[in-house]
Each structure stands twice: as structure tokens, then as C-alpha cells.
């Protein structure tokens, strides 16, 4: 297919709290991806970095930081910021360069050393920033939004806190099999129930931690892959980076209100929630549907949010997400495992790295190289996440 590009190499730095700089994690991941691809850094004509953010301020130009640490060699350099979608935008940028013939092989890197506790905006009086406003006016943290979604699912669909806990139990079981994960211990439903409430009805073990980590990919044209001894590589077939469609009628981070459903032309529009539109754009570009998936990696910022992704990815109708996790459909060994890596539940958030890490997991799964957490015969996978301020992110990879 015309839009396919090859994944020649994937690499990660283990997630955790390591106390080092984001550059160190990114360089370790980059070297691992280059070694996996069998390429020397000096042979790579382009590097794309997913920017890291500290305290809400994009103070680090990631592409150049990684290029400097690997050794300046005159590569084309790009840095992208799209909050949690930064990694997907970095992959999308690399793909565009490859398909346009600007570079035949590109290194993509994302890494972060995240602060402890709640993510918070930068200081100062900044009332033009919706992220600053929601903290200043309401004290509304990210878990508060996750709590709102969870409580609404309980009211609309009859989901229970036990259903949410099942997601954590499932992802922790998968993460225990992943040597790159930060948390590698099984978690029981009782453990979740015994953890303190953070934002009603969600508990500490329903919500992902912040973490340090790094992930990198070496991407190339199909012709370059063949020339360099990769006759049948994992292929990226779609990268979705769409915005929401107006009116956005589901309250979402970091907004204090939704768009109004009144207004000229608005009532005539089909209503499509943002997360569902991210997935739809990826499926349309890839020419596949949810029935073709062997696995999915989704952003499980909270356990309840993972259930929404099942529905938005089309794995089941709206309101049926809890039934999938109850029936083991999305567990390792189920029909379509979700977060076989262990997900954010096992990794924690290292924002610019995570969307790249999701594609690393697809790569290893589609190669049949995922070890104890391998999804047998995996042929197609999707990643999905959503970047603050309206950045969509999904990648489809096939073998």
C-alpha cells in the first residue's frame, strides 16, 4: 500500500522513577531502537523528538536535545508538542517526511522525567490558559475529570467500581510479564478496593501514576527496509492526529464547559465523540475495521477510561465496555487483548514517550517477539490516546 512505512527498530528505557534526565532515557531508547534496526546513528538523516513539558511549560526542544546527546551529525531535526499525543505526532511527522521523499529513514524519540503527584500548570497569572483556569477556579485535577466519566458510566450503563477494578487487575497481570514496565506485581480486586479514594468513585489504583521513561522507533520507506535486510517488516498503515469536531458535547480536559449544542448548522451534524472520531480516522486511513484487530494499546489514564476506549474503538457498542472486561475478551488470551503491555496502569505516564511506547509494543507483538505476553498470531493492532487541548492520536500497524 502506498502509505505504508516500515518499523525497522523499536527500543525503550524501562519505566520507573530513576532520577535521571529525560535526555538520558531518550538516548537509551534511541540506541536500543537503532541497534534493533541494525543501523548506525550516522546513517540516519532525520530525527524527530516529542517534546517534554515540565510544569506545563514546553521548555525543552527535544529533537535537538536527543541529536546533541547522540552526537551532532547534521540530521534534519524536528520537535513536536501535542501533550499526550506528542509521540503520535512525532511518528506522523516522520511518516510524512518518508512518504514525501525527504528522508528514507527517521529516528523518532520521546522521553520524560515526570514530576510526582498531580500534573499542574506553570506558575504566574495566566487566565488565557484553560489548563491554568481549571486549577485556579475549580481545583479540578486530571483525576477529577476521570472521576466524572466513571460516575457517569455508573449512572448510564450500570458499571460498578468492581468493573473498574477488573481493568487494573487485567493490566497488572499483563504488566507483570513485561520487563520494561514499572509495576510488575499482580494486583487483586481487594487491593484496588483497599486503596484510598482520589476522586469519587475512583481509587488510587484506578488511576495511573506519573513516571520516567523513554521510547524510540526507527521508521523507513519500504524500499529502504528491503535494501537493508528487512523483507517483511512491521508496517505502519495509519496515523490519526485529528481534532475534535464542533460541537464537542462531552466535558473534557481541561475545559470548564462543553460547546453548546445550539447554533446554526449544529443540530444537523452527526454526533461523534472525540475519542471515537480519533479511531474512525485511523480505521479509514488503514482500510481496516475493529473486527480485524488482534490487539489494541489504549491510554488507560483511569480504569474506567479504558472501558470507554473499547466502545470508541468499536470493540463493542456504547455501554458494553464493562461486559468485555468481565468476560475476559480484552485480557491476554481473550479475543482482542487490550494493553497487553500492561498499559499505563503498569508503566505510569511519561507523556511524550507513551504514544511511541504503544507502537513499540505493537511492533514486538506483530513480530511475535513479545515473550510471555505474546498475543498468538497477531496481525493487526491499533494504539489510541488523546492529547490535551484537542490532539487526537491513533496508529495502526500491520504485519
Amino acid at each position: 500500500m502506498l502509505t505504508d512505512i516500515a518499523v525497522l527498530g523499536a527500543g525503550m528505557h524501562p519505566w520507573g522513577k530513576w532520577g535521571r534526565s529525560f535526555v538520558a532515557y531518550g538516548v537509551a531508547a534511541a540506541r536500543a531502537a537503532l541497534a534493533d534496526a541494525g543501523l548506525d546513528w550516522r546513517e540516519v538523516p532525520s530525527v524527530v523528538g516529542a517534546d517534554t513539558v515540565r510544569g506545563g511549560y514546553p521548555g525543552y526542544v527535544a529533537g535537538a536535545s536527543f541529536a546533541r546527546a547522540l552526537g551532532w551529525q547534521g540530521a534534519r531535526v524536528t520537535s513536536v508538542y501535542a501533550a499526550c499525543a506528542s509521540g503520535a505526532q512525532a511518528i506522523g511527522t516522520a511518516r510524512a517526511q518518508i512518504l514525501a521523499g525527504l528522508a528514507d529513514v527517521v529516528l523518532v524519540v520521546g522521553a520524560d522525567a515526570a514530576p510526582k503527584g498531580f500534573f499542574a500548570p506553570a506558575g504566574g497569572e495566566r487566565p488565557d490558559d484553560p489548563d491554568w483556569l481549571r486549577f485556579r477556579v475549580l481545583g479540578a485535577t486530571n483525576p477529577a475529570y476521570f472521576g466524572l466519566y466513571a460516575r457517569r458510566r455508573m449512572a448510564l450503563y450500570g458499571d460498578t467500581p468492581e468493573d473498574f477494578a477488573r481493568v487494573k487487575v487485567k493490566n497488572a497481570a499483563a504488566g507483570a510479564l513485561n520487563p520494561l514496565a514499572r509495576y510488575r506485581k499482580a494486583v487483586s480486586a481487594d487491593d484496588v478496593a483497599a486503596s484510598p479514594v482520589v476522586a469519587d468513585p475512583l481509587r488510587l489504583l484506578d488511576i495511573c501514576a506519573t513516571s520516567d521513561g523513554g521510547a524510540a522507533l526507527v521508521l523507513s520507506s519500504m524500499a529502504f527496509a528491503r535494501r537493508h535486510g528487512h523483507p517483511d517488516p512491521v508496517r505502519i498503515r495509519a496515523v490519526s492526529t485529528v481534532t475534535p469536531e464542533y460541537p464537542r458535547t462531552v466535558l473534557d480536559l481541561p475545559d470548564i464547559a462543553t460547546d453548546a449544542m445550539v447554533g446554526h448548522g449544529v443540530a444537523d451534524r452527526p454526533f461523534r465523540p472525540f475519542r471515537a472520531s480519533i479511531a474512525r480516522a485511523a480505521y479509514e486511513e488503514a482500510g481496516i475495521g475493529p473486527e480485524d484487530l488482534s490487539l489494541a494499546e489504549v491510554y488507560d489514564l483511569s480504569t474506567a477510561l479504558e472501558l470507554e476506549w473499547y466502545e470508541d474503538l468499536g470493540l463493542c457498542p456504547a455501554g458494553h465496555g464493562a461486559a468485555l472486561v468481565r468476560n475476559g475478551v480484552t485480557a491476554l488470551g481473550g479475543r482482542v487483548p487490550v494493553n497487553p503491555s500492561g498499559g499505563l496502569a503498569s508503566f505510569g505516564e511519561a507523556v511524550p514517550a507513551q504514544a511511541i511506547a504503544q507502537v513499540c509494543e505493537l511492533t514486538w507483538q506483530l513480530r511475535g517477539a513479545a515473550g510471555d505476553r505474546q498475543v498468538p498470531g497477531a496481525r493487526a493492532g491499533i494504539t489510541a490516546n488523546q492529547g490535551l487541548f484537542g490532539h487526537g492520536s491513533a496508529v495502526v500497524a500491520v504485519r
Binding site: R136, A144, I256, V266
Partner: protein, 157 residues
């Protein structure tokens, strides 16, 4: 000496010394397409289907709505939320409220003392003036959502 009352953000709601029933959130409405924005949008209409040529006029929002969802904050939020680190953290409740006329959901803190156990998705709530925090010079005012008492609701029917 009385401290000056100041809205936490200027222009988002009416004078908080008005009687409860007159207190309103203030948004803007596009005169060309009727889209409503809150927080107020003054730079230009954001409806991509707007025929254009309109103005953004200040508009008060509905003062009653129904609970879309709710949660609370059991841990102290970081700055710029203002709280005294030397006092024990008192959780507060957050309510997202669906306003029927605007077709819009607006988040806010619940009135002091309202716990999640007193709320339900679909329950009716009303807007009331509230105080976010106080410092040496100012009383910083905000809006709160308060459950509509059952008998008040019956009286309104």
C-alpha cells in the same frame, strides 16, 4: 475594615451581591448563528458552520440544570488552586451540570457541605454565588451549584 469582593475571573458571572435568584453565569452568544460560549468567547465565533458577520453579545446562562456527573477531590490540588497547606485538606465536590436551553455542560464546585452522596446524575441543581477563598485584602468570589430542595422543586412545578 471590610475586604473587597472580587470575582476569581472578571466577567464570568454577575454581581454576587444580587439576590440568589438573579445571580447568573455570563457567556457570549453569536448573533449570526446563536452559538453560546462559556467561558465567554470574545475573539470570534467558534462554530465552523456559522454564516458569519455576527457579533458576540454577552448572555446570561440558565440558572438551573441537571447533574451530568459529579466527583470530589480527596487530595489537595496543586497551585494555582489556593489552599492553606498548614490546615487539613477538606475535600470539596465538583458537579458538571447540563443546561437544557444552551445544550451545554458547565463544571463548578458544589456549595459548601454538599457531598457526592447527596447527588445523582439527572438531579436538578441551581446556581448560587459562592466564595472560593479569602486573603488579607479580598474575598474571591465564584459560582457554586446547589441541589434544588425537593419541596422547592415541587413548588417550581
Amino acid at each position: 475594615m471590610t475586604r473587597a469582593r472580587r470575582p476569581v475571573v472578571p466577567g464570568w458571572f454577575t454581581d454576587d451581591t444580587d439576590p440568589d435568584g438573579a445571580f447568573r453565569l455570563l457567556g457570549t452568544r453569536c448573533t449570526a448563528c446563536a452559538a453560546v460560549f462559556f467561558p465567554r468567547e470574545d475573539d470570534g465565533c467558534r462554530n465552523p458552520y456559522c454564516p458569519g458577520g455576527g457579533e458576540l453579545a454577552e448572555t446570561p446562562l440558565s440558572r438551573r440544570g441537571r447533574v451530568w456527573s459529579y466527583t470530589d477531590g480527596r487530595y489537595r490540588p496543586p497551585a494555582p488552586y489556593v489552599s492553606d497547606p498548614d490546615t487539613p485538606w477538606e475535600p470539596y465536590t465538583l458537579v458538571a451540570v447540563e443546561l437544557a436551553a444552551e445544550g451545554m455542560v458547565v463544571l463548578g464546585q458544589a456549595a459548601p457541605g454538599v457531598r457526592p452522596s447527596e447527588l445523582a446524575v439527572g438531579a436538578e441543581v441551581e446556581l448560587v454565588p459562592g466564595v472560593l477563598h479569602e486573603d488579607a485584602e479580598h474575598v474571591w468570589t465564584t459560582w457554586h451549584w446547589r441541589p434544588v430542595a425537593t419541596d422547592a422543586r415541587e413548588a417550581a412545578c
